[in-house]
């Protein structure tokens, strides 16, 4: 029966830690439920049995009972030591990645996740991992604090600017698992989700090679721009159909006259677009917040490719 309840209130068990976490979760719930039931029954029983009969009721003077006080100090003490030790052991496992773990670099941005694989392939909001193999994530943020959370794995770790934090997991099989950002990071916090795709190791190797080849192909600028639009997370905030998501839509943006929050206005020519990619805080269009991170790490070619792509969105 406990198993049935757990399946209703917990996510699926998809990593090597999950079962142990769920076991402790269940232990605390059951122990708490027993004690809570005891307290509740005592309250109701006393309330009925010792209901006031008259205003002159005389009650016995019971100030203290050492045995009782010791009992309800020592039993909880034992229980919390069990809980501490169990949680501690589980935590040590979570914090100790095996030395043979497959390493992926993770960069958190407002509001998307970038994953960089050892061969240089990059993906956005989609993390591909070999199923059943330990995977270590080496994470940092490009702006504010984010947090990487995969409920199915019971894994969570804050991602900080200016410092690496790590997390690791090993899936129990293939599958798709949702990623959430769990440290509040602003307007797009709740849209900062993603997916983990755990695929067969052979399939994973093939996928990695294929991506590498794709990235090395000579592409027309606008197509490269479109790829970057997906990879760099632009798509999370800038739509192509005129809808305002978090930032201005790219549709009809090129050569549009932009009204600034400070009252000035500028035409969205190539120079304007380049500045807005590298250093977005310089000119904020009226009605939007200054929340976009700068992309000055992109190469000139990449910036040109994105500009070409924007030009096509008329």
């Amino acid at each position: 029966m406990l198993e049935t309840i757990n399946r209703l209130i917990l996510p699926q068990v998809s990593s090597t830690f999950a079962a142990d976490v769920d076991g402790l979760f269940t232990f605390i719930n059951v122990a708490s439920a027993i004690i809570l039931l005891g307290i509740t029954v005592a309250i109701i029983y006393f309330s009925v049995k010792y209901k006031r009969k008259s205003e002159d009721d005389v009650t016995p003077v019971i100030r203290y009972n050492t045995t009782l006080e010791l009992t309800w100090t020592i039993i909880p003490l034992i229980l919390i030591l069990i809980v501490f030790a169990w949680g501690f052991r589980g935590h040590i496992d979570m914090r100790t990645p095996p030395s043979n773990a497959y390493e992926v670099y993770v960069t958190a941005n407002s509001f998307f996740w970038q994953f960089t694989y050892p061969n240089g392939v990059q993906t956005t909001d989609e993390l591909y991992v070999p199923a059943g193999r330990p995977v270590k994530l080496i994470m940092q943020s490009r702006d504010v604090i984010h947090s990487f959370f995969v409920p199915d794995f019971r894994v969570k770790q804050d991602v900080l600017p200016g410092r690496y934090t790590t997390a690791w997991f090993q899936t129990l099989g293939t599958g798709e698992h949702v990623i959430f950002c769990t440290e509040y990071c602003g307007s797009g916090h709740s849209d900062m989700d993603g997916m983990v795709y755990a695929i067969e190791p052979e399939e994973f190797d093939a996928w990695l090679r294929e991506q590498k080849e794709l990235s090395e192909q000579e592409l027309p600028l606008a197509v490269l721009g479109q790829n970057l639009y997906q990879q760099q997370g632009c798509a999370g905030c800038h739509s192509l159909d005129g809808n305002v998501v978090i930032g201005p839509s790219f549709q009809g943006l090129y050569m549009d006259e932009r009204q600034g929050a400070d009252g000035s206005s500028r035409v969205a020519d190539e120079d304007y677009l380049r500045e807005s990619i590298n250093n977005p805080g310089e000119f904020i269009t009226s009605g939007f917040n200054n929340i976009m991170p700068g992309y000055s790490y992109l190469s000139e070619d990449q910036v040109s490719a994105i500009i070409e792509f924007i030009k096509e969105q008329q």
Binding site: P11, T59, T182, H189
Partner: protein
């Protein structure tokens, strides 16, 4: 009894019923309220202010719950939602719950329970109220100027980079901190120096013990919050790199500073509630409190341990593994004194004479809800489970069970317990019971589903969510409407009780033994027209009530002598 009191002759002072003159009609006009040094009037002004802010925070909560009806947009955009949840948290924490019990009920009853005519520094007490109001104005200014979207925790570097009114908001909180510190100092001195003759530490009401423990935390912890917020303001305005890594700072340092205050602050919020529950359970069981010293000292133990566990808010923050383990270990030790309290309260009911009046009903609900809050706290303290539950709705549900199911239900218990004393009027008992049941149901319907969502992985502070969570979110939203209804009923019958003529309260409607009940309802301007003397523990229901109404013979001064009589020293501490 010490030498200071041995020459006094004591006698019983009967309590005047339906007094013609009392603190409410001792003076009139707006100035008589705004510039009063009467702790009772200051308490009532606090009460009015916090009820106003509870109303504001409550409306914000209803708006949040309504927005979460649909997985995507219901009626507001993400930026508005982020401002609303920030304000809900900040208003409820800094403007409502921190001052709630100590500043309102504490101010009113601490001196009365000590048999004193006022707190030790009445003018400082008024100053605390004015500082609180001044800080509150800053908060209202921030709301008017676009609000704040950082969450009530103001985490850096988000709070140093967002374009919202962070500075005025944090300045408001900074200023209100001084109010909290001054009230704390005032209470500590009052408890040490102003106790009635014969009122040793072992005869202090447990509400006083809890306020005393709270005051210690207020005085020690609040300055750390002030420093932290000041550093945050410096970083934002002057670009001094404290927390922002781009300027050479450390964002996790902010979290350490913030929780060094804000974890003990959780005990500022809940420990006074424990005091109320002790008073009520003993009174309505008409029985000596079980384990007086354990309850009294566990408040101090919680206050002390509360300073050593701040890191449990940061298990996944990137702090060192060693600190994480130590903080987890220490966290569980807050559970022990808390559990002892709950079991002592239940044991007090054994063989009692239990009268399930509204305050007692709320106290029973408190025991149930707060226990759930406590157990889920143990869950969150367990390291490996915390990693999964951290920053999900599980945490939201947990602290609402502690803060709302705990503190707010205890506050409601206290309001209903002391309402006849404060106002001289009795509310409608039937409606009060109906409202308490409505609130209890509404509360559980609102927050129980949040435990489930959180366990399933629903992160907190999410404007939109995946469809899987919609049923639970909608259940929770329906619960919030029931809660709202409950508070409307409470507001109505309490207001009616004020204006109705036929429902005058007697001086001691519950048959309690503590000193505040040995004065008229409402009390006279100086609480007692004599100097009370204490012989017994305030929970000694087996002693005749006449022995709780003693005072120094010949001290029954009237107004022309009150200031002189005030200098009568209590036993030295």
């Amino acid at each position: 009894m010490s030498a200071a009191t041995k020459d006094f002759k004591i006698r019983e002072f009967p309590v005047e019923e339906n007094p013609k003159e009392h603190y409410l009609n001792a003076a009139s006009g707006l100035k008589s309220w705004l510039f009063t040094v009467d702790h009772k009037r200051i308490g009532l002004m606090y009460l009015a202010s916090i009820i106003f802010f509870f109303f504001v925070g409550g409306l914000l909560a209803l708006a949040l719950r309504l927005e979460l009806w649909e997985p995507a947009r219901t009626f507001m955009d993400a930026d508005t939602y982020n401002r609303v949840f920030t304000l809900h948290g900040a208003v409820m924490v800094f403007l409502f719950i921190i001052p709630s019990i100590p500043a309102a009920l504490g101010n009113f009853f601490l001196p009365m329970m000590l048999g004193a005519k006022d707190v030790a520094f009445p003018k400082l007490n008024l100053l605390s109220f004015w500082i609180y109001s001044f800080g509150a104005l800053f908060t209202l200014y921030s709301i008017a100027h676009g609000g704040v979207d950082t969450g009530w925790t103001f985490y850096t570097p988000y709070s140093t980079s967002t374009g919202t009114a962070v500075i005025s908001m944090t300045l408001g909180v900074f200023i209100m901190g001084f109010s909290s510190i001054l009230t704390g100092i005032n209470f500590i001195v009052t408890v040490h120096k102003m106790r009635a003759p014969g009122q040793t530490w072992g005869k202090l009401p447990l509400f006083i013990w809890s306020l005393y423990a709270t005051a210690i935390i207020q005085v020690l912890a609040t300055p750390v919050l002030a420093i932290t917020l000041l550093l945050l303001i410096m970083e934002r305005t002057l670009g001094v790199g404290i927390f922002d890594p781009a300027l050479g700072g450390d964002p996790v340092l902010y979290q350490h500073f913030f929780w060094f205050y804000s974890h003990p602050a959780v005990y500022i919020m809940i420990v006074p509630a424990f005091g109320i529950i002790s008073e009520i359970i003993s009174t309505f069981s008409k029985k000596t409190i079980f384990g007086y010293w354990l309850i009294a000292l566990s408040s101090l133990a919680i206050a002390f341990t509360g300073f050593l566990v701040w890191g449990h808010h940061m298990f996944v923050s990137g702090q060192s593994e060693l600190s994480t383990i130590i903080f987890s270990f220490l966290t569980f030790f807050v559970g022990i004194p808390t559990g002892i309290k709950i079991l002592n309260w239940v044991a007090t009911m054994y063989k009692g004479s239990i009268d399930m009046k509204t305050p007692m009903l709320y106290a029973m609900m408190f025991l149930f809800l707060f226990s759930i809050g406590g157990f889920t706290g143990i869950m969150l303290g367990a390291l490996s489970v915390n990693v999964h539950l951290h920053d999900t709705y599980y945490v939201v549900a947990h602290f609402h069970y502690v803060m709302m199911g705990g503190t707010v239900f205890a506050f409601l218990a206290g309001i209903h317990y002391w309402w006849p004393k404060m106002t001289g009027k009795m509310y409608n008992e039937l409606w009060a019971k109906i409202a308490s049941v409505v609130l209890f149901i509404g509360f559980n319907v609102t927050f129980l589903p949040q435990f489930v969502m959180g366990s399933q992985g629903m992160p907190r502070r999410y404007y939109s969510y995946i469809e899987q969570f919609q049923t639970l979110h909608q259940t929770s939203t329906v619960g919030s409407w029931v809660l709202g209804l409950g508070f409307i009923i409470v507001g109505i019958y309490l207001t009616i009780s004020l204006f109705s003529k036929a429902n005058k309260a007697s001086s001691n409607p519950w048959g309690a033994r503590a000193l505040e009940w040995m004065s008229s309802s409402p009390p006279p301007h100086h609480n007692f027209n004599h100097t009370p003397v204490v012989l017994h523990n305030p929970y000694d229901f087996h002693k005749p009530i006449s022995e709780f109404r003693l005072g120094i013979d010949g001290s029954d001064n009237h107004h022309e002598h009150t200031e002189v009589a005030q200098t009568q020293p209590a036993e030295k501490s």
